[in-house]
Amino acid sequence: MTDLLTVENLRTGFHTHGGVIRAVDGVDFSIAKGGALGVVGESGSGKSVTALSIMRLIDLPGRVEPTSTISFEGRDLATLPEDELTKIRGNEISMIFQEPMTSLNPVFTVGEQIAESVRLHQNVGAREADDRALEMMRLVGIPSAEKRMRDYPHQMSGGMRQRVMIGMALSCNPKLLIADEPTTALDVTVQAQILELMKELREKLGMAILLITHDLGVVAEMVDEVAVMYGGKIVERGPVKDIFENPQHPYTEALLRSIPLLGMRYTTPLKAIRGMVPSPLDWPQGCRFAPRCDYAFDRCATELPPLHVVGEQQAACWLCENGARDVQPLVAPL
């Protein structure tokens, strides 16, 4: 399969008086046409800034450094003039966010808002745009769509609002959907509905998905490939099954062992990762995870490890320099 999006050496920094915050510090990945990549990480890992950088939605004092390339079907989004980028945003690449309430305009009905995005991006009349809006509302499974078109965002539940956002994002048949924590604000049963919907639509419309989330469970269900971010870098990536069954980077392993699985009990203490996420103003020298890592040795404190190839996976850890690391398999009690 050919790559739809290839990101190379992405660096996004925020130039503040206190220094440069290197939120994303050299990230490479690619997504195949119709593929699904999950980017996981905790707060401050740089996952959301990565997503925003692709759309070049970074405001001053932030900027995507000129050495970065974001190649989307042969065009470099990092250097594309603003007016050409506008044609791609919302049209070929769409984005949905965590909180649909703040992304929707409270004074227009949801129908008007979907129709507006259709009119802006596709050369169609008002009537046709309205029809398309209705079609999208039905596609995303909003019951009595004709009636709900006239609802204002506040009249809808969180789950319904997220459906509207997805409808709007998909109204122009994007090739890539960037979803930044799309279900984090939702209850589990509603989250299950939205995840099912996204999977179904991906299959139906053949679009690629870049899913940004902190939730390892959501990633396991939604994507084929995973990139784990820590300290502004990708520390491990590979097929979802390999990463979850045989995590090679100690951070990935610790993260997986730190969450209670259904059926686990307090008599077995959880694996806690000591300390805190380092500050992007002052990343540690060497491996950024080394100060919190149980396996760290002298070299980790001084030399930043590159991504080492381990089978289908790649892990940025010195322990993987000569192939796979021995990892105890993770057991699910239920």
Binding site: T189, Q191, G217, L262, R265, I273
Partner: protein, 351 residues
Amino acid sequence: MSTDAVTPSVAPEPPEPSEDDVLLSVRGLKKHFPVKQGLLKRTSGYLQAVDGVDLEVRRGETLGLVGESGCGKSTLGRTILRLLEPTAGEITFDGVEILGLGSKDMKDMRRHMQIVFQDSVGSLDPRMKVGDLIAEGLSIHGIGARKEREAVVHEMLGRVGMPPEAADRYPHQFSGGQRQRIGLARALVLQPKLVVADEPVSALDVSIQSQVLNLLVELKEEFDLTYVFVAHDLAVVGYISDRVAVMYLGRIVEIAPSDELFRRPLHPYTMALLSANPEPIPGRKSTRIVLTGDVPSPIDPPSGCRFRTRCPIAQQICSEVDPALQDHGLDHRAACHFPGTSIAGPSPAAA
């Protein structure tokens, strides 16, 4: 759920309940909030946040309250501490009916019942130093002289894994996980019998969440505590709790020991929650039960069983008769007319 699933660690069996073993007991508890509308703010209805809950919290156990937003779990947690005055019902704490207590007696009682909140920013006064925040309970209850309190504060900080210097700093100088530790120190300084923990780890990153969960378990042992642990995350609640109560629209729909609930869920809502829980095990969820629709409004809940509007197995009787919590053995109770009926083909945990 497969019954022959092997659990690597079996938690100690919770103690058999007897009169003495019940620390807190709640009967017919209701908390309704008036809904005001219009210019004159007339009461147009009541939001039935908690609507008829019977519950026992056993001495030394951790009881989990789990449910989605608006199910009343937080309101229940606050009402049992009388932080919210209930609309109806009885609350007996350590053998004393606390709703009849006057303000002075209630204040004395509060020493023994403390709460930890989710929002560690909103629950710690930004203008107070951490040391004063932790000592606040001691000074309110007039315990110890200033010097003694200082010593207690330093000891508490140590117990929650913070350095003594933290006492002289302000809440904003700490991270979310550290603030949650401060909140715990503040709750435990009075050596309470009961601690209600309201979503204490929900706002934290996963790596920090596990630190705080482990700390909660250690402190419980050390201080001989009883917890009521309120959260929306079923795996987290199941992990830390001896027993779990599942709530839906102001009611408890199922309550059982944690292992038992996961192995043999009886209420369709519990089954749906278990199946919706995203687990970091790729390829596991082949058949997922997806509930349709949203939770109905607690202002005007459905007749009969409140879950029936979203229930895949609802029958005529479900809209007519409100099912009571019934005993199904093994300390397991569920409020359903058709308990244990599978709501999807293969069981959700069958990998």
